[in-house]
């Protein structure tokens, strides 16, 4: 069974349990259910106990690492460091179980730390919080200022002493400036900088650990002064305090790229990075058109989140699109446009993210559209019910028969001939039901009424969902159906929750997720509110017990 299926089943099972009201959470009272992961909980166990997300220790992703360096030393221009790519699991780059340290990574952390230290030494006066005087006092001030921020928490006395000793030893050997550089070089390779270290106990997170969880989720960056102050003051031990900080953080420009990144990972925008198309079949397509289609999709989700209150309904049904002179033809827009412009599109043809040309082109082949890729996308990313892969030895060949020999086949025909019958049908019937609904969109995301001279048939069906089953005609109708589905709503909750904590689908404790999913649905499906629901949840604010 697939992990995502498991989640949905356990999620459904959780609905029958007794769920504590979130407001009953008292961070100081525990009655004992460890928030273990991997195991779907007995529904009866989803009681009113605070659970805590048993997230293993997280290392900064490459994006987080780079942003953090910039925030630590805003006055310096820092060298680019080629870090090995983060491992992407189930679409997300922050899966805490897949963060393998490699020799390359450790070397690059070393080179980076050294390069940053060199920059600090080269512009010492701009970085030092004291006059450039060769004193222990100045070094201590620097340690307190820099290492504390690098660790995102106050230093213990022992830590401060260790850094001072490192400095003193280095100063006698190399002089004052290189010794300051070594403080930087060491701090940037310390586990307290590279990892988000949390106390290993089933307990509410201390304010600083929670501040880091917040800032790396909402900003992909370290906490700022105000957030660290909130941690220090105890404000973050209260749900209201966390909410106030989270709302402030969402209003900060740093949330923009971070939220864009969640969308991009959730909705597999990486597939839009490179969309080669057959020049013979699609001479209109080139890298500029591809780039505009890609940007249009990114702007679409950005607008939904920031200007439409993160409405899941709008994500799936809004009929406006961002187009420019290159992508307008894909949308059948003949008006003169210059630069990315928000345009009303033909509402019979375009509605929601599923009709964005960039995404349609990404989930297609070089020479043809792909009902299968598109169908699996909907099932995996929006319904959290990805079908299992085809068994080994299956290639999807069309077996020529007397009936189909020499026929002008549409993509739909080909797919239907390949696997709408026989053993493949058991899975493909579900996939194709979604995929056939996309038949109006060719491999570069254009609307078509006919294909190979045959009128397009975009009739599809939805099977095996909790609440979206039934026939539909075209993606506009499908999007409207999905927008009303609780399964889609729960899936969105699951995807964002998993990203917030770096968890794989199989590692989500459904009892932690269920109250969030329920509140999200109750809120009317605002993804913006979902981020607040996640960060104020018991799970997010509690460290689970990890075996």
């Amino acid at each position: 069974m697939l992990p995502s299926t498991l989640l949905l089943i356990s999620l459904a099972a959780c609905n029958t349990g007794t769920i504590g009201e979130p407001s009953s959470f008292d961070p100081n009272v525990y009655n004992g259910i460890p928030g273990g992961d991997d195991e779907p909980e007995d529904p009866q166990a989803c009681s009113d106990a605070p659970l805590g997300a048993a997230a293993p220790i997280a290392r900064l992703t490459n994006t987080e690492y780079r942003n953090t360096l910039r925030s630590l030393l805003p006055a310096l221009s820092l060298p680019a460091v080629p870090l090995p790519a983060d491992v992407v699991v189930e679409g997300f780059d922050n899966n805490v179980r897949a963060q393998t340290p490699s020799a390359t990574l450790i070397e690059q952390y070393g080179s980076s730390a050294e390069a940053v230290a060199d920059s600090v030494v080269a512009s010492l006066s701009t970085v030092l919080p004291c006059s450039e005087s060769d004193t222990d006092a100045c070094a201590t001030t620097f340690i307190d200022a820099f290492v504390t921020r690098a660790y995102r928490r106050p230093l213990t006395a022992a830590e401060r002493t260790r850094y001072l000793e490192l400095f003193q030893g280095a100063r006698s050997e190399y002089g004052f400036a290189p010794a300051i550089g070594m403080i930087v070089q060491a701090a940037l390779q310390s586990p307290h900088f590279l990892y988000r270290v949390e106390a290993n106990e089933l307990a509410p997170l201390d304010g600083y650990a929670l501040a880091s969880r917040l800032s790396y989720f909402l900003w992909d960056d370290m906490p700022d002064e105000e957030l660290l102050d909130a941690a220090a003051s105890g404000m973050l031990s209260q749900r209201d305090g966390v909410e106030a900080q989270a709302r402030r953080m969402l209003d900060d420009p740093k949330a923009r790229p971070a939220v864009a990144s969640v969308f991009a990972q959730w909705l597999r925008f990486d597939k839009m990075a490179d969309m080669p198309k057959s020049p013979a079949l699609f001479p209109e397509w080139n890298t500029q058109v591809a780039s505009s289609a890609r940007t249009g999709a990114a702007r679409f989700v950005e607008r939904v989140f920031w200007e439409m209150d993160g409405s899941l309904d709008a994500l799936l049904t809004d009929t406006s699109s961002f187009v420019d002179e290159h992508s307008a033809p894909l949308y059948g827009i003949s008006d003169a446009v210059s630069g990315m412009t928000l345009m009303e599109t033909n509402a019979q043809q375009r509605s929601g993210i599923l009709t964005q040309a960039g995404l349609l082109a990404a989930f297609a082949h070089e020479t043809a559209d792909s009902p299968i890729l598109r169908g699996v996308f909907v099932m995996d990313r929006l319904l959290c019910s990805a079908p299992p892969p085809p068994p080994p030895g299956v290639t999807g060949s069309i077996v020529e028969t007397s009936e189909n020999a020499g026929m002008a086949l549409t993509t739909r025909d080909r797919v239907a001939l390949t696997h709408e019958s026989g053993e493949c049908a058991s899975c493909h019937h579900a996939i194709d039901g979604f995929g056939f609904g996309f038949s109006h969109y060719d491999a570069i995301g254009r609307w078509r009424e006919t294909e190979n001279g045959v009128a397009v048939n975009a009739k599809g069906w939805v099977d095996n969902t909790r609440d979206a089953n039934g026939a539909f005609d075209g993606v506009v109708e499908l999007g409207q159906r999905l927008a009303k589905s609780a399964q889609v709503s729960d899936c969105a909750s699951s995807q964002w929750y998993r990203y917030a904590l770096g968890l794989g689908a199989a590692n989500v404790n459904s009892c932690n997720l269920e109250p969030i999913a329920k509140a999200f649905a109750d809120s009317g499906g605002s993804l913006k509110e979902l981020t607040i629901l996640i960060v104020t949840s018991d799970a997010f604010r509690t460290h689970g017990a990890v075996e």
């Binding site: 220790i57 393998t100 340290p101 070393g110 730390a113 586990p191 307290h192 082949h365 299956v394």
Partner: protein, 453 residues
């Protein structure tokens, strides 16, 4: 601990200064002779298996191909000049995939995860054990072999789903796709500083810092859960290892090859070939200078143009064509043009493979052979045939591994009474590289090391 060696002649050849190389003073050659010649291993990785009818060798004079009397098949024609250096290994299965109970995200990911680990997957996306390249790198390290880099994992535009190298179960290692980054790792002091050890003070500061950091990790470990401790220990081990390897980097005096900028992808076919070439020259340099002994090199992303594919078969892409040609009953499986295109796809890979062998064969060794003689290059991949079959892997070894492999042969591994897994090949490779294991991957599938001699 092994001594880093300098093969001045090889490095000069890299720089196009072979005339000088032949005039190299005899003394430096004599000094090099004192050091044992290291064994190296390369995993040359391509996708979509092969096309068996064109992969199989053919017999001589109408007879069936035998172990020693055979001619290379169509796909291997680019390797003709290396025929005496090849061991075609025919008939091994990825048995670990057969015993897998859980699902894989797709048939290629399944193959990728099994191909080098030979064990059940950790989950639908990740390999379930240490891959053979990493096992060998770890074993060398444990045996006291310290090179500047424990291993290289590199590839030309590797697919994000190509999960090949695993440090341990589910711990996938990244594949570097930019030759410039690999160049930087191999030659941290830069080309200009070649021959100069890193500034002593800088190196000393690095060591002090790494020491400090290692203590940080050690102090933190007891406060963590077992699971977190494992994660951080892997990191801390690498920090300590880096500290030790620094001494090696500083001692190696070796010239770096100059690489052209290959970052532009506007002409993808040129990008593929130039980037591949740059990586091959880096492998050559790394072996000549003994900077690493284990390389995993993924060349899977061959461009359509090189294979003569232009979409004329009505398939969605080249990948689709490869699948359909391998599918019994598909019209394309009997379409000569389609079959030839797929054969050309694999033949182009053979050309790349031949190029790599050429680079290795240009590194002279002190015993009068070349580095190819002291290397085993396994050409492997994620599936056996375009139809996703994982049986009868079309794999071959080039190079003699310093005498561990008897080449110039076509090895037909008996499939009766039962087929053997690629586990047995990996045990043999590990043994040849000095790791005395008797079992690799899923233990139930091991039948003893495959004899390579």
């Amino acid at each position: 601990m092994s001594q880093p060696r300098t093969s001045r002649r090889a490095m000069l050849q890299l720089l196009g200064l072979s005339a000088l190389a032949s005039a190299a003073p005899r003394g430096s050659r004599a000094a090099a002779q004192a050091a044992p010649i290291p064994k190296r291993v390369v995993f040359f990785y391509t996708n979509h298996g092969s096309h068996r009818p064109a992969w199989l060798p053919v017999g001589v004079g109408g007879a069936a191909a035998t172990e020693t009397a055979f001619e290379l098949g169509t796909i291997h024609q680019p390797l003709a000049s290396f025929k005496k250096d090849l061991l075609l290994v025919d008939g091994l299965d990825m048995l670990s995939s057969d015993i897998q109970t859980g699902p894989a995200a797709n048939a290629h990911i399944r193959g990728h995860c099994h191909s080098m680990t030979a064990v059940e997957m950790a989950d639908a996306n990740l390999g379930g054990g240490t891959s053979i390249d990493q096992h060998i790198a770890q074993a060398l390290r444990q045996a006291g072999v310290l090179t500047a880099l424990p291993s290289l994992e590199i590839g030309v535009d590797p697919n994000v789903e190509s999960r090949i190298s695993f440090a341990s179960s589910a711990q996938q290692l990244p594949i570097e796709s930019d030759p410039q980054n690999t160049w930087q790792r191999l030659f941290p002091s830069g080309a200009a500083a070649s021959g100069e050890p890193m500034q002593d003070k800088r190196a000393a500061r690095r060591r002090s810092v790494l020491d400090f950091v290692a203590e940080d990790f050690a102090a933190l470990a007891p406060k963590l859960s077992a699971q977190d401790r494992k994660k951080l220990e892997a990191h801390a081990d690498l920090v300590r290892d880096l500290e030790k390897r620094m001494a090696v980097s500083a001692a190696v005096s070796c010239s770096a090859p100059s690489l052209a900028d290959t970052s532009s992808r506007s002409d993808y076919a040129a990008y593929y070939q130039d980037t591949g070439d740059a990586f091959m020259r880096l492998i050559q340099a790394a072996f000549a200078c003994d900077l690493t002994r284990v390389v995993t090199f993924n060349m899977e992303a061959i461009p359509d143009e090189l294979c003569g594919y232009d979409g004329r078969f009505g398939t969605t892409d080249l990948h689709d064509l490869v699948h359909k040609v391998a599918q019994q009953g598909d019209p394309l499986a009997t379409n000569p043009d389609a079959v030839n295109t797929v054969v050309r796809f694999h033949t182009e890979y053979a050309k790349q493979f031949a190029k790599l062998l050429g680079y290795l064969a240009s590194i002279p060794e002190s015993d009068g052979t070349t580095a190819l003689h002291h290397t085993m290059v396994l050409w492997c991949g994620e599936i056996a045939e375009g139809n996703h079959d994982l049986h009868q892997l079309p794999w071959l070894i080039a190079g003699q591994g310093g005498g561990s492999v008897r080449t110039g042969r076509y090895l037909q591994v008996p499939r009766e009474p039962e087929a053997r897994g690629h586990n047995d090949l990996f045990v043999a490779l590990a043994n040849a590289m000095g790791s005395p294991i008797t079992s690799f991957g899923a233990s139930s599938l091991n039948r003893g090391p495959l004899s390579l001699t």
